[in-house]
Amino acid sequence: MPVYDQYSDEQLVAAAGDDDLGAWEAFLRRQGQRLLAFYTRMTGDEELSRELWVRSCNELWKQRATLARGGKVVTAVFSLATRLCAKTASPAPQRSPKGDPSSLESRSAGLRQALLGIPVRTRAALCLCYFDNVGFREAERCLGAAPGEARQLCAEGYADLIRALGPAFMNNGLA
């Protein structure tokens, strides 16, 4: 749907508010991967992430009339995602897949597992700011955090992540 490419997220959601399903689909195609990746990092479970993604998309559609009110649409999207993740119990850490530890799959699984060891709020800040490139202010709105707290939480999360991954992980294909 190239006709929608020229419009911002806010414009697409405003059109969706008028029951423009094409605009809503374009918005989901644009932000859907980001949202699903956030869920995957937060939960470490792809199946659960897909379920949360579908649920949040439906929920966002119901809230489309007020979605862009008072800020960026992405902020509202990740606010909902953060709330859903907070309500969802984190699954038990999974074992690392067997095989070549330097493969993309192994490293990806190792990264997810390391993320699961970080506290939820810190993990959410890390995922938002570091992986999903959400600004600190927006992340604070998503988390309901005080000013400056998102930066601090993200830094703590990153330090925890590096510690959990260990030097071996970094040497497998990284520098």
Binding site: L21, A37, S49, N58, L111, F131, E156
Partner: protein, 370 residues
């Protein structure tokens, strides 16, 4: 530098908007102490981005289907006034409601077809009228012999009188009339009564039923027979109702055989008022619906000259009095009904039925004579 300080530094370099950051990034890359950490920072981001799952087309389609259904359900809820019906129609609750929804849709379709037929018939007969409100006093008759004839129903009654209007007697009208407050059994009883009257009349009147009325004194503005004070009582009906002209009768140039009348006829033990003062052609009582002693003044408004038939029947269906039978109008036809039969003999006290037939409507009203 601690891990936390390093993380803060990298985050600021990554997300900061300082124009000097590019310069600082260049310095970092050249700094042998920070360079590995910065590269690791970027490499982890790249790894996460590379291995991020993407929603497949099936997921997207499922979501879009849900969104579409939710939008339709929202509109349906607004129309139907509730979520339940909308949910059932949208087959949200499984195979059982799927069957129910199919039934509902089928019934709606049948209803639409029936309504269309009624409108079609009404249009042919020029009777697409809603006479429920006094404002609905003007209509266009299109089915008459001479083509479209503008016709203004007489509206002579104030709202209070309209509220005392008599029951509906038209079959097609009463079915669609939402003013009825009688249970279906009452309507069925009225229908049976009307049929009974027709059969009795057909048996006993024979070929001379169209003969001029012997005892009736009726004309365009004629008066009825002499008054017999305190002979009977005229009073209010039980409920408000509207009169809808009979479409099938309108299509005929002359009065047809009595159509099947049905209305919420009420066997009144005390009072009776044949009132059609709701703005349509019909009967108008002389005392505006209030109980009175003396002859009953019946007014039939005729838009143009035509045959009418006004008779009084006993409960057994035997004609007791012919008030009018022949051509009358245009204008108001006043008929006086006292408590005597065609031969001038006083009628026995009891309940009788007054039937008024015009090309535009038919009506049966119970009358109590004391």
């Amino acid at each position: 530098m601690s891990a936390l300080s390093e993380a803060l530094l990298f985050l600021d370099l990554d997300k900061g908007k300082d124009p000097l950051l590019e310069e600082r990034r260049g310095a970092l890359i050249s700094d042998p102490r920070l360079r590995p950490g910065w590269l690791r920072y970027q490499a982890l981001q790249a790894l996460a981005l590379e291995t991020a799952p993407a929603p497949n087309e099936k997921m997207l389609r499922a979501v879009m289907t849900q969104c579409r259904r939710e939008g339709v359900r929202r509109h349906l809820s607004a129309i139907a006034g509730g979520d339940e019906l909308a949910r059932e129609i949208l087959l949200d609750t499984g195979p059982k409601s799927r069957g129910l929804a199919a039934w509902i849709l089928g019934l709606l379709l049948l209803g639409a077809l029936g309504l269309g037929w009624i409108v079609f018939q009404g249009g042919r007969a020029g009777m697409g009228l809603d006479t429920h409100s006094p404002e609905a006093s003007t209509a266009l008759f299109t089915g008459g012999p001479s083509g479209p004839v503008p016709f203004e129903f007489p509206v002579q009654s104030p709202p209070a009188e309209a509220a005392l209007a008599g029951p509906v007697d038209d079959a097609s009208a009463s079915d669609a009339d939402d003013v009825h407050d009688e249970p279906p059994a009452a309507r069925q009883a009225s229908r049976l009564l009307s049929d009974h009257l027709h059969e009795a009349e057909a048996r006993e009147q024979g070929p001379d039923r169209d003969a001029p009325a012997a005892g009736a004194e009726a004309s365009g503005t004629g008066q009825g027979s002499g008054a017999d004070t305190n002979a009977h009582t005229v009073a209010k009906p039980r409920r408000a109702a509207a009169i809808k002209p009979k479409p099938t009768a309108m299509a005929r140039p002359a009065p047809s055989p009595i159509p099947a009348l049905q209305a919420g006829l009420t066997l009144s033990s005390d009072t009776l008022l044949p009132s059609a003062s709701s703005g349509a052609a019909g009967l108008t009582p002389s005392a505006a619906g209030q109980a009175q002693a003396g002859p009953l003044d019946i007014t039939v408004d005729m838009p143009r000259r035509h045959d009418i038939d006004v008779r009084l029947f006993t409960l057994a269906g035997k004609p007791a009095r012919i008030l009018a039978s022949g051509a009358f109008g245009p204008g108001a036809v006043h008929l006086l009904l006292d408590a005597k039969d065609d031969t001038g003999t006083a009628l026995a006290p009891g309940t009788y039925y007054l039937r008024v037939m015009t090309p535009w409507f038919s009506r049966v009203e119970p009358i109590q004579i004391h």
